[in-house]
């Protein structure tokens, strides 16, 4: 019996009990409850007398709301409250950059699925019936669903339809190359499709405030938006991180948070809300669909001379983080290459499509499909090997981005490319391959003769952390004390959202490394007793929250050294820190942590700000970014051109990680990111029909299965980043950026088709001859 009190702990994970510091494959502290099904996710919350919330959403893409009558819902037994826009006591809107999104639509709805009301009832089925019973009179309005058209259309919102227009002018804009290639590219709308749907539990508190247990990426920014809409001081809104079932950018914006608080405050009872999968597709922002045009100029020797680009991102109905996404798309449009001259014209636009915002890769993904297709085109025009062309133009340390920023950190583009292509290629397809392993998989559609093999390479670059002058910081407090039996125990307090990425593991490793303790506890993340950690996004938490913990530990060491110096009556600089003890340099005397902590606990808090960045100027110039991360991918695919079906056979990668603090976790990030990249390349898209979402389900929004994911071989390129804790860069986003473009390149290689759109649909391949 696993749970019995056997003399030795044989529970899963027990024998891998984490002891290791930085660089080791330490085990996740939340791993054991997760494999036992005991980990508390936000949808697992339960409380006595709790009610169930349900949101009523607009069936229209664009409409005027003429009337909302909640009385039929309130007449249903078991219904306890209905809230609408009229019940929002504070600011009626919210938003990450600008509060332009209504908590509930009041006069108009601007996208399919926009919230109009919410109900609380005794049972989820009653709540659903009640939401349906609310009578809303809509007057449909012709929607604007084309981003280019929206630029000239009447405003869909008082703030207008242009979120941001960004122009990057760099070098000689009249420069031309001897060889010029151009192309138009398109990327569809991807969904984060995290497995744990939006959910949370709001509990009214005695002081008239609220406790909200919720899955999110950034507790403090949620809190501030909630407090503003509740018209309540921030300290009465207490957020607690509930178990997060994945995020990938989709939990950066407020979804059900304010609705839940309104229902709980209105009923005086705890209210739980769990989105169904279809509602989840309406409940969070998506990756921006993009339409892009590129023109690349080069010398006959293959030196890039100039990149021109026009980028239009469809931001959907509300701003979310569109402005920052656009900045990334523009800055990284040339890819990880030396480009002396550039003119990049980028727009983020409001339409009546679903709102778009953060998703893993954040603007760098869309343009990577463009710049990498262009590099292949250019290589073909030059008669050059595409890998050689990339190596030839690869960015190096102290090169400039097209924003004029000099890259002072590690930029191992060549190393990543060489590592990606150094892995052995898989065996060629044979007639003896199991039919299920061919394109079409379980559908058994392809015979050996129907299969064409293709290989493609793509490379990407993206910023780490927040850019353009954002005051990006993270707070952490570490307490070191003698535990039961005198053994030292460290406790970390941080509001960092663990969303699956393994920050909790890295936090423990850092404390062990810095303080030489074995037992490191992590206090639950919340807004109550610590400042903001910033968002678990932009591949930033190892650098930012990790840095805050590292620096808090350093402060603890100084305090302990001071204690030792006082007890030895010596100067502090004669006391050396060893592994979990201090040494008197003069006498060689030693004091262990237990002895040092006998006088009581030590505690230190640190707010870690990264080097300041600046906003881009009118020409898109400036040191807007903290640092960049690079990755290269090679994809091998089998394509059935007759049916347009694809099987990705292998993806190899070289990734610039700075330093791998936990190689197994880094590998997990790489493989998971590649899966999302493959998804966008060949199957994942929210299909819209005049703004209406046609596939809000896992039946029709397809994410890769075990039969779609290939073998992955990864090389971690470790060139330490000067400014980062332990030299470690972020690792979450790069694998999701160039993996998809590599797959697309491989499909082009296999089919000889131009294929300018992601995801590639079967008809794009099978009917290509007919469209030409």
């Amino acid at each position: 019996m696993l749970a019995s009190s056997a003399p030795t702990d044989t529970r899963p994970g027990a024998r891998t009990r984490p002891r290791a510091g930085v660089g080791a494959d330490a085990a996740r502290p939340d791993g054991v409850p997760k494999v036992r099904g005991e980990f508390g996710f936000s949808s697992d919350l339960w409380m006595d007398r709790m009610l169930w919330g349900k949101t009523l959403r607009s069936p229209h893409v664009s409409a005027r709301i003429v009337a909302v009558d909640p009385s039929p819902a309130l007449a249903i037994p078991g219904v306890r409250a209905v809230v609408t826009a009229a019940d929002v006591p504070g600011r009626p809107t919210y938003g990450l950059e600008v509060p332009d999104q209504p908590v509930f639509a009041s006069d108009v709805v601007r996208y399919h699925g926009e919230p109009v009301a919410a109900v609380a009832a005794d049972h989820p089925e009653t709540a659903r019936a009640a939401a349906r019973a609310i009578e809303v009179v809509y007057e449909p309005v012709e929607p604007v669903v084309d981003a280019e058209r929206a630029l000239d259309a009447p405003p869909l919102h008082p703030d207008g339809n242009l979120f941001r227009h960004l122009v990057i002018r760099h070098g000689d804009l009249d420069a031309t190359g001897e060889v010029v290639v151009e192309g138009a590219y398109e990327v569809g709308m991807q969904d984060q499709a995290f497995m744990g749907p939006e959910s949370g539990l709001a509990v009214p508190s005695e002081d008239g405030g609220i406790d909200l247990y919720v899955a999110t990426q950034w507790l403090h920014v949620d809190r501030d938006q909630i407090a503003a809409s509740l018209g309540m001081p921030a300290e009465r809104v207490r957020l607690h991180l509930a178990g997060v079932g994945g995020a990938f950018g989709g939990r950066e914006d407020v979804s059900l948070q304010i609705h839940l608080c309104l229902l709980a405050l209105g009923t005086g009872r705890p209210v739980k809300m769990v989105y169904s999968r279809d509602e989840s597709f309406f409940g969070h922002v998506h990756r921006h669909p993009a339409k892009m045009w590129f023109r690349h100029h080069a010398t006959r020797d293959g030196d890039l001379v100039k990149v021109e680009a026009r980028i239009v991102l469809d931001g959907g109905a509300y701003l979310s983080s569109s402005n920052a996404v656009l900045s990334n798309a523009a800055c990284f449009a040339p890819g990880p290459y030396r480009v002396p001259n550039a003119l990049i014209d980028a727009y983020a636009v409001r339409t009546n499509n679903p709102p778009c915002g953060a998703m893993r890769g954040f603007g760098a993904v869309q343009v990577c499909y463009g710049h990498e297709a262009q590099m292949d085109k250019l290589a073909a025009a030059l008669g050059m090997d595409p890998v050689e062309l990339r190596l030839h133009n690869a960015l190096e340390r102290f090169d400039r981005l097209v924003t004029g920023q000099v890259l002072t950190g590690a930029v191992p583009v060549r190393e990543c490319i060489r590592a990606a292509v150094a892995h052995p290629l898989p065996p060629a397809p044979t007639p003896l391959d199991p039919p299920m392993a061919r394109p079409g998989g379980a559908g058994l559609t392809a015979d050996h003769a129907d299969v064409r093999r293709g290989v493609g390479v793509a490379v990407s670059v993206k910023n780490v952390a927040y850019s353009e002058g954002f005051d990006d910081y993270a707070t952490a407090r570490v307490r070191l004390e003698a535990g039961v039996g005198g053994e030292p125990v460290a406790t970390v307090v941080a509001a960092t959202a663990e969303v699956g990425q393994g920050f909790v593991t890295v936090a423990q490793q850092i404390v062990r490394e810095e303080l030489g303790v074995v037992d490191v506890l992590l206090a639950p993340a919340g807004t109550n007793d610590i400042g903001s950690a910033g968002s678990s996004s932009a591949s930033r938490q190892t650098w930012m929250s990790g840095g805050a913990i590292q620096l808090a530990c350093a402060a603890i060491r100084r305090q302990l050294i001071a204690r030792a110096a006082a007890s030895w009556g010596c100067r502090e600089d004669s006391v050396e820190w060893g592994a979990g003890e201090v040494v008197h340099e003069g006498t060689g005397e030693r004091l262990g942590l237990a002895a040092l902590l006998a006088d009581g606990a030590v505690e230190a808090e640190h707010e870690h700000h990264h080097r300041p960045t600046v906003p881009l100027d009118a020409d898109g110039q400036g040191d807007a970014h903290l640092s960049v991360m690079v990755a290269a991918h090679r994809a091998v695919v089998d394509v059935d051109p007759g049916l347009g079906l694809v099987k990705v056979v292998q993806v190899t990668t070289g990734q610039d990680v700075g330093r791998a603090l936990n190689p197994t976790q880094v590998t997990g990030q790489i493989e998971g990111g590649i899966a999302q990249g493959i998804g966008l390349a060949v199957m994942e898209e929210i299909v819209l029909d005049e703004g209406r979402v046609k596939n809000p389900s896992f039946t029709d929004y397809l994410v890769p299965t075990t039969l779609d994911m290939p073998a992955v071989a990864a090389t971690l390129v470790e060139e330490p980043e000067p400014d980062a804790p332990y030299g470690a860069k972020g690792v979450g986003e790069p694998p999701a950026i160039s993996s998809g473009p590599a797959v697309l390149a491989a499909i082009r290689d296999a089919t000889g088709l131009a294929l300018s759109r992601a995801p590639v649909r079967p008809e794009d391949i099978a009917l290509a001859g007919h469209q030409a």
Binding site: G37, T667, G672, I674
Partner: protein, 187 residues
Amino acid sequence: MTSHDTTRAPGRREELEEEPTDAPAYEVASRYELHVNGAARTVEEAWLGESLLYVLRERLGLSGAKNACEQGECGSCSVLLDDVVVCACCVLAVDAVGSHVETVEGLTRRGVAADIQTALLDAGGVQCGFCTPGFVVAVYDLLRRRPDAGDLEVREALSGNLCRCTGYGRILEAVRAVQEERSRAGV
């Protein structure tokens, strides 16, 4: 705020009969018994339409089976129904009466999936963990039926369990490790 004027907690059936206007707005299967993880569990005043997943999670306190899609398209609610792996979201709870239901909590308590759980941790197959209990159940089911399953067979058997974090690489690595370990141990 438009609020219903009563804040009375949801009543038991006897109480509701005293106050017929506040009867549940849904069809009630008043009382039934499920056999879950070897124990008889009584369900009262449930809505007829409740899935086994809902009853396990919200009425019986067994939240190991997860609610990722509720349409049989992700495997995160995998349970054993009379020893066959199914999606609990696609079983009507009242239809499980008389059957034996085993959840990840039951497997954990019996210790029969311990090596799988350990291997998932060792290989790095757990990130957010939302799909993990479903994988534990599905891998347990696969390896007792097909201990020597090759890579493609493993992938086919697990193709109904979606994971959005790991790209499956570390999970498949864990399955291989369990197969090797069991084969070495002669299990």
